[in-house]
Subunit: 403 residues, 2 copies
């Protein structure tokens, strides 16, 4: 990392701007720097000469001429990223343009504990790196998303409700046994929000990303930065009460949106509908598979099954009801919806959206857009890459590599 | 304002830091500037010489010596501020140290409309200025708080639910008929939050200020800045649903916390208790006064009246239930409670606080402090002063004076 420590603040600022602007032309880059044109050109020239930047493909400029773009130099390395969910593990090698170069997804159970899950993560990282014909020393930085509240300074989970074995586990040190590169850990939903912030080049200042899956969480972007809260637990919307007369949640309270509308709740309601005879299609599927998933419910609903249709609609409405409170408080310009439950079909989003518009104040929803996360199921991995690269470029990489 | 336009960004930065640090010693000021010690000392010397700063009283320094403080020069002028509530009008003259020099409070009905309320505001401003033996030209800037969502760029209310006559009214232009000084308008709760941010010298980064009165609103401080949201309606928590089976609100939805626990709801419940014979004390008071206020309910509760006690407790619980959702989302370090309903007694805050701690996640409440707003009923006026002075020091005063 020694070469990195010689970069000046101006140079790091240029490199970070190149990251956030997706390999911009000079004309797009220069106005975003707090430097004079001459100064900026001289910094860029130095970075090109020393192999930090390279000239990228030609891009159509506004004047009709083709202008060259600036990219982070590929020789700086790649990013290793993992998105650990409650029931899935996603690992990828990303270039410094945040494009996925190799990716592998598989089902896991995060409750198996950190030793097992991280061993598998490391094995997959090795395998994907080999597929790219790269060595551990080619890794510039590592980014990891985990499904619980993270103390960002230590990279450790803090009392994660769904995965008690992970509490305070030294994730960074575990990953560092294979790599000299610095490791960054954040909550999965924060990373999805960071990825969308990168996608829009920081041009949306205030938006939310809701992840609906086994749990329900919210990433908050405020003043064009991811907001983590006073203790890193901001966005923990899964335990917002949507029905004071609702069922008891594992958190101890009643009527939490997660216990009423998360993945397991949908599966539970579907199983009840199958057993009570309310849904023939779900009963068939249950007999075949032994268990029902939210995807089964979505399929049955789209095939015309009334009970399944109602389960999907009700789940969307409950999440929408929670979101209405959040929209009244936060007045975002956009709400992006991501996570596994988005796969259960368009009715879910329609019900959710209707509830938000109905229950939030007119002024908050007049320009509000509610839609799927454009980065979809790559958002977590891309966000982990943006985090890792950004932290290295902010000059904190070296500190963290040798704490 | 011509003299102001000659200030350099470094000079404005020093003046703004003096505002935020409450007249600091040099040792407290210098580390907060992004200048070398020599540069900073030279900028400060220039500002002292040109009459922008003056040396203030001596303050005990850590070494035991007495160190001189730096203040904005009183010859720069004073601030005129007004805090317009739904049922009260507060007007004051503030020094540049944000101390209240003259203040007047009276009951109003904001629904009387902007022409009447602002005429009265201007009359009071003239009167208070005269009491300070000052002239209109001594006014450096004017700050105004209003009880509804404000488009900050234009200083106009946008579809305020409690005061339809104010929609898009040109408040700034109205005030400018008497003064050459620039006028700044914001939502009253945002100003209370800004005042608390000033009180803590920006050292708390993420907190909420809840105002409970006729309406219920929330000021949000995020990354040490007041957060206004995408359309200026952030913090509109009064219409968060706390009971899907609750009564209908004027906003069209049911079970909004404002319609169930705002000032009018408490008065309504008290009147019902008086008429039904549930409370003798409230019935007596109703017979005497013809009408019941939240303060009456608080007094009766403290005198041992069970029905009044329950009304206060339930109102605190409902606001606490709403706050629990907000705390789960935002994970603030502090929640400050202000507004007229705080006067109904300690049981209200106790019930509110208990509900927040019970319904929010452990990680969000472990270090959370919930208490009264330390600036109390001066918060709105001080916040209006901080806003007006800050905007002038950020160099936008001149632009706004001649739009």
């Amino acid at each position: 990392m020694d070469r990195w420590s010689r970069l000046t603040p101006h140079e790091l600022n240029v490199l970070e701007s190149v990251l956030w602007l997706h390999g911009p032309t000079r004309d797009a880059l220069l106005p975003r720097l707090s430097l004079s044109r001459t100064q900026a050109n001289s910094v860029v020239a130095g970075l090109l000469e020393q192999g930090w930047l390279e000239r990228g493909g030609q891009r159509e400029s506004s004047g009709g001429r083709r202008a060259e773009t600036l990219c982070l130099h590929p020789s700086l390395g790649v990013l290793l990223c993992a998105d650990i969910g409650a029931t899935s593990l996603d690992v990828a090698v990303l270039g410094l343009d945040l494009k996925l170069r190799e990716r592998h997804t598989e089902a896991i159970d995060v409750r198996a504990g950190p030793a097992a899950v991280l061993a598998r993560t490391r094995a997959l990282m090795r395998e994907l790196l080999a597929r790219c014909k790269l060595k551990p020393r080619d890794v510039l930085a590592i980014g990891l998303g985990v499904p619980g509240p993270v103390d960002f300074a230590t990279g450790q989970l803090v009392e994660p409700p769904l995965m008690p074995g992970w509490d305070s586990y030294a994730i960074r040190e575990d990953l560092r046994s294979d790599y000299a590169a610095p490791v960054w850990v954040d909550n999965d939903v924060n990373l999805m929000a960071l990825a969308e912030l990168w996608r829009v080049k920081r041009e949306l200042q205030n938006f939310l990303l809701i992840k609906v899956g086994t749990g329900i969480g919210c990433g908050i972007v405020c003043h064009a930065e991811v907001y983590r809260g006073a203790n890193g637990s901001a966005g923990d919307v899964g335990h917002i009460c949507v029905d004071p007369g609702g069922p008891r949640c594992h958190c101890g309270n009643v009527g939490c949106v997660e216990v009423m509308a998360g993945g397991p709740a949908i599966a539970r309601d579907a199983t009840a509908a199958a057993r009570s005879g309310a849904s023939e299609l779900l009963a068939q599927r249950l007999a075949e598979a032994g268990v029902l998933t939210p995807e089964d419910v979505g399929l049955a609903g789209r095939a015309g099954d009334t009970a399944a249709h109602q389960i999907v609609q009700r789940a969307g409405q409950l999440v929408g009801q929670m979101l209405a409170s959040v929209v009244n408080l936060f007045n975002p310009s956009h709400v992006f919806v991501g996570g596994g439950l988005t796969r259960i079909g368009p009715l879910y989003l329609a019900a959710l959206r209707q509830c938000v518009y109905q229950r939030s104040l007119a002024l908050s929803t007049r320009h509000l857009e509610v839609g799927y996360s454009p980065l979809g199921d790559s958002a977590g991995l891309i966000g982990a890459g943006v985090l890792a690269l950004q932290e290295v470029l902010r000059g904190r990489g070296k500190v963290m590599a040798a704490p």
